[in-house]
Amino acid sequence: MKKINVIGLGNVLFGDEGFGVEAVRLLERKCAASMPDVRFIDGGTQGIYLLDYIESADSLLIFDAIIPAEYDREVYVYRDDELPAFIHRKMSSHQMGLSELLSVARLHGKVPSSIVLVGIPPKNLELGGGLSPAAERLLSEAVEEGRSILEAWTEDRVEKQ
């Protein structure tokens, strides 16, 4: 059976930097009951400690705050090869960002066959206070995007069985 993991990245203490974590929590509340096999992971800023959740997935959905190359949308969705090869998010003690984790997974030969990143650019990174009103407004849109991705994956899974 295909394994689906959803990881939210970021630090909830720093405003919109916590977007990914808030998104995975909301998506879990909405979908956990109907998708019992999907794993929802509050990844925080755990870097290298998230390797297992990446390598153990066949399909991986990631929520994160991002800085896009061009500001042309509100919610950004990147799939597989669209993910930049070098993503310099330094999130753990061992400075393992997503790109490094994926490169390790590649070296181990354990890269998920589908990876989707859903993100929004942060408006406010101030300490405390939670998401900005702008990020709060985009949260449900991003989570709906995530839900439809999960639905496609789980339907796909049923078809293949």
């Binding site: 720093f14 509050d42 090869a85 999130m91 061992h94 400075q95 490169s103 390790v104 070296l107 990174l125």
Partner: protein
């Protein structure tokens, strides 16, 4: 004018750390300045909150230190309220803490620090046959065949040729300060990857006892997990036997991979004994066998060593208002009654006031304030905290296991105890300690089983859960030895809410700026006198700074879709 090197940020570490080093003759570091460039304001976030929730906020301060902040936090609240954790709660916390130490040291050595000594690209030139022979000579570890190393080397070649070095993209490959033969480099890279695989296993122990991972659950009064050998929904025989298996594998990995690698690598660098630094060491101690308030029951002793004098271990009392203090003469904060006077954390103030240059900037005005880190001092002394401090304290107190292991490692390397006061000594101490904490994992596991066998399934004491039973006004101190050193949380509770909360983290001790007397901090001291082979590639600075396992605040890092350079090394 002297050359000044700026390394900002130091690659492969948490948060933002900036080192400015002034070079003297022959490219020897004359002076160094350590600056934390991100503000960490957890104290302000916690004000007014429920003390029972503090741990959940505290564990988000840092990317890796989640469990240690949670532990120090619940301990400080329990201390304030007079709560004694039942034996299972204490033992499980010790077991989780030992697990954290062991995993963190392993990850630090292979994934943060090893690449300061190991040249990945050189491994491509290794002879797999010779690598196999060396590996088999130093360890019985089974993954050591010629085919194993050949296969790994081929994968590595493919990886490098793809142009996406990823994890290995920040190295100074080919630097003349790398001394290992190609074959030892290949062995180390093999174990780098094996350790990455293995560390995934170790944390399963946190999932068992903390309910989930990352971010396991803690609880004021004990632990939130239920133990019942006969119930499926609780921690039972099956889960405990999995824990036992992981502990056994961990001990084997450390004995057969980590320690032999450490000795093999150190053997090629034993004339590089720079980076000793202050010679002052501090530990709060940890791993209580009885009450956490009884310092005499700690397996890791509490104490201080001054000026490398191992004949005297000084008593340390973190509650004494004159011992642990923080001043802000060189930090971007103000104190109501003067920045030069050190304040004990129970009187601590967190009033940020940035007076540095507007970023981006070329360099800091190190004559004035230059860091977001405060300057902690013990009885006015700058102190180093971390594995070297803890190992030296145990060595000074003749702990049998530590003394035997330290002497064995020194003997194999054919160096005397003075070699411990160095960057390499710090790195060796971490390995020695990792062996010890893996042993602690088994020790606490056995203790837990013994205690559960008596029919005691209690993991928490929640009689004082309700704030109506609390004193109106209470102060508490909570501590732990985090993998990177002494961590203290000081709380003041009033009317059921947090009135004040101060945290002094290990990296603040080690990375502290100068104090009002001009005395330097541990990094600053350790970097002085180090010769640099190539100032444009400051490998030697990284080596020494990484040896402390620095961990500054988890800053707000945002995903960069433009793939920008992260390491700015400039000569100004």
């Amino acid at each position: 004018m002297a050359e000044k090197i700026v390394v900002d940020p130091i690659p492969r570490i948490e948060g933002h750390l900036r080192i400015e080093a002034k070079l003297g003759e022959n490219n020897v570091i004359e002076d160094a300045f350590s600056s934390g460039t991100m503000w960490r304001g957890i104290e302000i976030i916690l004000k007014g909150r429920d003390p029972r929730d503090a741990w959940a906020f505290a564990e988000r301060i840092c990317g890796v230190c989640t469990t240690v902040h949670a532990l120090a936090s619940v301990r400080c609240v329990e201390d304030a309220l007079g709560i004694e954790v039942p034996p299972n709660g204490r033992i499980i916390r010790n077991l989780m803490n030992a697990t954290q130490q062991t995993q963190d040291h392993l990850v630090h050595f292979y994934h943060l620090h090893a690449l300061d000594w190991v040249d990945v690209v050189s491994a491509l030139k290794a002879d797999p046959k010779q690598a196999s022979a060396i590996a088999q000579a130093i360890s019985p570890w089974p993954k050591s065949s010629v085919g194993y190393f050949k296969d790994l080397q081929q994968r590595l070649v493919g990886f490098v040729e793809s142009g996406q070095l990823g994890i290995f993209s920040n190295g100074y490959w080919g630097h003349s300060a790398y001394k290992l033969p190609a074959e030892v480099n290949l062995i180390a890279v093999a174990h780098y990857l094996e350790a990455l695989e293995f560390q995934k296993e170790i944390v399963k122990i946190h999932t068992v006892f903390g309910g989930k991972n990352p971010h396991p659950n803690y609880l004021v009064g004990g632990m939130a997990c239920a133990i019942d050998p006969n119930r499926n929904t609780a921690i039972n025989i099956e889960t405990l036997s999995m824990v036992r298996r992981i502990i056994d594998e961990t001990i084997t990995f450390i004995d057969q991979v980590y320690i032999p690698d450490l000795i093999a690598i150190a053997g090629f660098y034993k004339d590089w004994l720079y980076g000793g630094g202050l010679g002052n060491y501090l530990s709060y101690g940890d791993f209580p066998e009885q009450s956490v308030h009884d310092a005499s029951s700690l397996l890791w002793p509490r104490g201080a060593i001054l000026d490398k004098d191992l004949s005297t271990v000084h008593d340390v009392d973190p509650r004494d208002m004159n011992q642990v203090t923080e001043e802000v003469s060189h930090s971007w904060y103000t104190y109501a009654n003067g920045d030069e006077k050190g304040l004990h954390p129970w009187e601590g103030e967190t009033s940020p006031k940035y007076t540095g240059p507007k970023p981006p900037f070329e360099h800091l005005d190190t004559e004035k304030k230059y860091s977001w880190l405060k300057t902690p001092r013990w009885k006015d002394n700058p102190m180093e905290v971390g594995p070297l401090a803890r190992v030296l304290l145990q060595y000074a107190k003749n702990d049998p296991m530590i003394t035997e292991t330290v002497n064995a490692v020194l003997g194999k390397l054919e160096v005397g105890p003075e070699a411990l006061f160095s960057t390499l000594g710090r790195t060796a101490a971490r390995g020695i300690e990792c062996k010890q904490t893996a042993g602690f994992m088994r020790h606490f596991y056995d203790q837990l089983i013994e205690n559960v066998k008596t029919g005691d399934y209690r993991t928490a004491d929640t009689r004082l859960w309700d704030p109506s039973r609390w004193p109106k006004d209470a102060k508490g101190f909570g501590y732990t030895e985090a993998p990177r050193g002494a961590l203290g949380h000081w709380i003041h509770i009033r009317d059921g809410k947090i009135e004040d909360y101060q945290i002094v983290v290990p990296s603040t001790w080690n990375a502290s700026p100068r104090d009002s007397k001009g005395e330097v901090g541990a990094y600053e001291s350790a970097l002085r006198g180090t010769p640099m082979a190539d100032p444009e590639k400051p490998l030697e600075i990284l080596r020494t700074v990484h040896s402390f396992d620095p961990c500054l605040a988890c800053a707000s890092h945002v995903l960069d879709m433009n793939g920008e350079e992260i390491t700015r090394v400039t000569i100004v």
